[in-house]
């Protein structure tokens, strides 16, 4: 009983500290916007360097989805619906969620390790002593870049999965479906609400992953073990948060 209480207290006080940290990050966003060059560099480090994994994953997920659907829908004579089903599944769920999970593994872990090492090697202290606020120069620019990157990466993932290679490749090029039907079905059944919900989800996921990564890195004990623990918990905590949040957001959106 006492153990549970201790775990709960630790969890809640950790949550409190993390919220306090988030307030610090948010209030540093304004000043950070004055230095767009740092943000651009981070957009490259966080966004552009995640492109390869996102593009390849998007392709394969789209392909596998189309294969499964084509197989099943064929039995009901509804093979024209492959495009719609792939598109809806990707735009509503798989796009934001899978991209976010990959992003947490690729960029979130790197961010936590980078900031943890900066802490361990006194770089953050040195900035403070130079009267430079690390929240504004280190944390906030990465946060902004993360929140911008994830929706863009999600869009790229979805385009790869539905159009360029994934679904289209299987349904049209491989199984001999009709391009016109493929696209017109999608056009008729995917509306702006779906796209907006996709965007909202990925923006929220981006903020959450970056919040967790920054918090873990910033508060990592200044040791090799501390940094490695911060990296691991970033991936674990943000993956779980993404899945849980996805459920909550979906429930609200389809009310």
């Amino acid at each position: 009983m006492n153990g549970i209480r201790l775990v709960l207290t630790n969890f809640l006080s950790g949550l409190g500290r993390a919220q306090f940290f988030l307030l610090g990050v948010l209030s540093a966003i304004g000043p950070a916007l004055l230095r767009p060059r740092i943000i651009v560099r981070q957009l490259y480090m966080i966004g552009v360097l995640s492109l390869v994994i996102i593009v390849i994953s998007g392709m394969f997920i789209g392909m596998v989805l189309a294969l499964q659907m084509a197989n099943t829908l064929d039995r009901f004579g509804a093979e024209d619906a492959v495009g719609v089903i792939v598109a809806l599944a990707v735009i509503r769920e798989l796009g934001p969620v899978v991209t976010a999970l990959l992003f947490a593994g690729r960029a979130g872990s790197a961010l936590a390790a980078e900031i943890g090492l900066m802490r361990a090697t006194d770089q953050l202290s040195a900035m403070e002593m130079m009267a430079v606020d690390p929240m504004r120069r280190v944390v906030a620019p990465r946060f902004i870049a993360g929140v911008i990157s994830l929706p863009l990466l999600t869009a790229i993932f979805s385009v790869m999965a539905i159009g360029v290679a994934g679904g289209h490749l299987i349904a049209v090029d491989l199984l001999g479906g009709d391009t016109g039907t493929y696209w017109s079905q999608i056009h008729a059944n995917v509306d702006l609400t779906d796209l907006r919900q996709c965007f909202i989800k990925s923006a929220v996921f981006g903020a959450v992953i970056n919040w967790i990564a920054m918090y873990q890195g910033y508060h990592a004990p200044p040791t090799s073990e501390g940094v490695s623990t911060a990296t691991t918990s970033t991936v674990v905590v943000s993956s779980l948060s993404i899945l849980a949040l996805d459920f909550v957001l979906t429930a609200f959106m389809f009310r």
């Binding site: 900066m118 090697t121 006194d122 770089q123 202290s125 040195a126 900035m127 403070e128 002593m129 130079m130 009267a131 430079v132 606020d133």
Partner: protein, 273 residues
């Protein structure tokens, strides 16, 4: 009564400082004065809290008791803006350099200038090259921190610490890892920054003879207290057994060389833990 004398020649005055990490006491009532335009040495065994003292003066740690005045203002009562303004007047050389690893040597030294001044890039370049020249590393300007040796990193960090021409520079172990030549250069540099620019210097060091040869005043701290303080001659001539032990570098004496532990025999003979 605060215990602070209001003498204008004190740049920093530390009174009755108390500080601990968690339950571990580091300072237990310490008074230190840093006089304007002088070189003040702080010596003491490893792990007594010399680095901690510099961080407290810089406002990174908050003491549990006592006060630290910088130029008459309490460091730990400032709001963030005022504290940052204060820090622009302090340079700090970290023990391990603490260079920003994603910037070149040049950009590291230029960093505080770009952050805090609106100088033209050409002027910044001149200043940076001059500071690097002073530490003998003008030729290393395009290297990244990972390409430097420990001693070189520390010299770059020194150039960075003096980039803004601060009122005071705190040097944490500037001599470790330096060969005799760069050691001599650094000693002369610290001394000349002091005489020509009037920069107040605080030097933390284990190299007793070297640091005493450039210091105007010295403190020896151990066990949470100031053991002795005075001019280098007073320190050298000190009768105190503690100070003699420290100066002569003997492991046994009033200052324990060992971190607190049970006797070795007991540890070796005892049950494995």
């Amino acid at each position: 009564m605060t215990g602070h004398e209001q003498t204008p020649d004190l740049l920093v005055s530390v009174r009755d400082l108390r500080f601990g990490y968690g339950s571990r006491m580091i300072y237990d009532g310490v008074d230190v004065d840093i006089r304007r335009g002088k070189v003040t040495a702080i010596m003491g065994p490893s792990g007594t809290g010399k680095t901690t003292l510099l961080r407290i003066i810089g406002g990174q740690w908050r003491p549990t008791g006592g006060t630290v005045l910088f130029d008459g203002a309490d460091v730990h009562q400032q709001n963030r803006k005022a504290l940052y303004r204060m820090r622009q007047r302090m340079g700090m050389l970290f023990q391990n350099g603490a260079l920003l690893t994603d910037l070149t040597v040049f950009d590291n030294v230029a960093y505080p200038l770009r952050e805090h001044t609106k100088l033209a890039e050409a002027l910044i370049r001149d200043i940076v090259l001059m500071k690097l020249e002073a530490v003998g590393l003008r030729g290393a300007r395009d290297l990244y921190p990972e390409e430097l040796s420990g001693g070189m990193s520390r010299r770059v960090a020194l150039a960075r610490a003096i980039a803004l021409d601060p009122d005071m520079v705190m040097y944490d172990e500037p001599f470790t890892g330096q060969d005799p030549i760069s050691m001599g250069v650094l000693m002369r540099l610290i001394r000349s920054l002091n005489t020509s620019l009037g920069i107040t210097s605080v030097v933390v060091s284990h190299d007793v003879e070297e640091v005493l040869s450039i210091a105007d005043y010295a403190y020896i701290v151990a066990g949470g207290k100031v053991l002795d303080h005075g001019t280098p001659d007073q320190i050298r001539g000190s009768e105190s057994a503690l100070v003699r032990q420290f100066l002569e570098g003997r492991p046994d004496g009033p200052v324990p060389f060992h971190y607190k532990a049970p006797p070795l025999e007991q540890d070796l003979m005892g049950d494995a833990r």
